[in-house]
Subunit: 228 residues, 4 copies
């Protein structure tokens, strides 16, 4: 067995034990797709999607970017709202307490690092870009308010990192009154096992984790969104 195989065997053991307990105690309900979804792409900016950055994540070119491209194509056909976040700062003061744990000087506003990857770029004037400063897309932003104003009840999430920004976003989403669906093939991280661990954990408690195929099928079944 390789180290990777051993890891996954160990995780499987953990998940079986945990899932049994959660199931017995009534967790692990399905929250579903709701009726008015929006797409939320979390921190798919170059500092995370391209090689050579301190924040670079795994599986961008072979899995995440192609997956997000397919998702966006389907979502645009149905005229769903598409929201992107990046994490970017204009001064040291702007970073708040985060540098106590992690250097953030690589993430300045106006640099290539914090721009959304052009392979999945937002359409100017149509899509919405939120420049966030904290892990969650909801924390310290106006996201919940604009989702509500547009009648959105569900966010379909992609992006990175699974153990940080994605996880924290779906935890907050439920508290802010929204369902979320995390697209399994469209999320990533930097460190081994973090994706698997967190997908398991959030699926039990905060959101539904679904395959790209399931999500695409659902989007295809929707009538196009009508905006007033």
């Amino acid at each position: 067995m390789t180290i990777d195989d051993k890891l996954h065997a160990a995780l499987d053991t953990i998940f079986s034990a945990d899932a049994k307990l959660y199931q017995e105690r009534g967790w692990n309900q399905r929250s579903g797709f709701g009726t008015h979804p929006a797409i939320l792409n979390i921190d798919l900016a170059n500092a995370w999607t391209r090689d050579g950055f301190r924040f670079t994540c795994e599986h961008m070119d072979d899995r995440i970017i192609p997956g997000v491209q397919r998702l966006l194509q389907s979502a645009r056909i149905k005229q769903l709202p598409i929201i992107y976040t990046t994490t970017a700062f204009c001064s040291t003061f702007d970073m708040g307490a985060f540098p106590l744990k992690t250097p953030f000087e690589d993430l300045m506003i106006g640099t290539t690092a914090t721009e959304i990857d052009e392979r999945i770029a937002p359409i100017a004037g149509i899509d919405t870009l939120i420049v966030k400063k904290r892990p969650s897309a909801f924390a310290g932003t106006h996201l919940a308010g604009i989702l509500r104003a547009a009648g959105i009840d569900t966010i379909i999430c992609t992006g990175v990192t699974m153990a940080g920004c994605v996880r924290h976003t779906v935890e907050d989403a439920l508290g802010e009154g929204f369902r979320s669906v995390v697209v399994r093939e469209c999320v990533g991280d930097r460190v081994p096992a973090a994706v698997e661990w967190n997908l398991f954990d959030i699926d039990m408690k905060y959101c539904d984790v679904e395959s790209l195929e399931t999500v695409l099928e659902h989007l295809d079944s929707l009538a196009p969104r009508i905006t007033s």
Copy 2:
């Protein structure tokens, strides 16, 4: 008596009656200057400071801009953190529910309208610019978190509008745990009496309203800020 004279006579009558009641019931305490202030300039972007916009406010050239210039000069000598807000949007979706009451299409990101007035412009990389989406500088932003991280306990506020963004900011400031001082000569609005009414009301309940001279004297008395 001119209409303006009549207005102010009427307001004086109201304020005397109200102040008496507030005083008898224990409101109208002084919260003071705290020990670690920062400057917060609210929405002093061209759409509010220059003629010809739907958001244009009164008394910019003769009072507010010169006042803010003096304040910034004193604050920079003491190396106080200086924060600016503007209100700007990247899409209709980004505006949320506000267009239900007020058109906001004049306030797009990247236009001159939403840039800070160059007469009091922020210093890039040093000052902090918050692109807010709601009246309060705290609502849907990370402002409270970064003030706390820097050990700030008091915000000294300038800007517009008094009946909207400034008022809402100081109400939120107290709730978020900060004192605020509003600089009387450095705030404005669009409509008659809104400045006087709100200065009176917030001084009773949420913050201290002080003259520019008093604030400058206080800043002059401070030791320069040391940042780690």
Copy 3:
């Protein structure tokens, strides 16, 4: 002319001038009743509704309480969600920065002062009571999240005080993505002119102010709410 007559004449002069400017510049849109309303009764606890408290407001017995009773009766027929707030604290620490401006020791949890007035009391287990700590019903509470989760798009507001908690609540409501309708006969304050001033101001910018009759007619026109 009595002092009261003079006040109202002065306010009328102010409002005419202000309304003209707002109208010319595109404010003062009607946001309307939405499709899924909830009732929000702000701080109608004994400290505000009964005589002899530091927070006592005017016109409780002759106008506000009877008005809220009628509103609740109509809302219950249609099974609308009914939410109450009170402002109450468990320790001095719990009050945060507010005592810097206003003493709050009269508002302890578990006292009669902070209990909802029994003439309009919530139904235990059915209605929702939010124990807030700040003026706005949204600030530092989970209100926005539970409204969204229930599919609510509009809050119909009553309560006190107009220049504080009610005003701040409707400002926040719009930012959080909700319409609000303030019921003119069901709101109050402690000081002369504060109700009129703020009703005018928020109606221009943040919500619709409507008469009790208009609101009752609207509620009567609704189909009963179905909860899953």
Copy 4:
């Protein structure tokens, strides 16, 4: 090897690989104890601390409760602010979207289940009890505001669950401008490996995880807190 041994061996493998990457990339800084700490006990109510509830956690009697007792004793000597949270609801509406994933009807206000365990009970009128509705002690509460108002810069955290409320609280704490220290012996969960996984992860990114002995030593070194 027992299953438990296998689990820990697997986790050790994961953590070594992850820690190396985090270290190389500049994460895993120490944020430290700050200068003005408060104690935050998360959801140590009977539904989590006692046997037989759906929310019951492991290691309460042998490790967590005795640890928290020692911590509180030291903190009281130094007159540090002590804050407790519980999670409790007054109606189904009050639960918001959470029942989409997890039943919450066991957590009603006024029941024994949601009262703080008497072995570590708050002192009425002195300590502060926050009745929260979401995982994080900061989300939808006024906690950040009252910590700031009291000049607190660091929260020392105990409680449950590690993969839910504790984790989410320390993520939010950093964003709200506070350091946090999680006391290793004083946190728990329901499912195997969740404590270890999350302690590792948050220590890399959001807070410092320290032993009870280290925390007690630090508290002993402090001068008693003086409140104005």
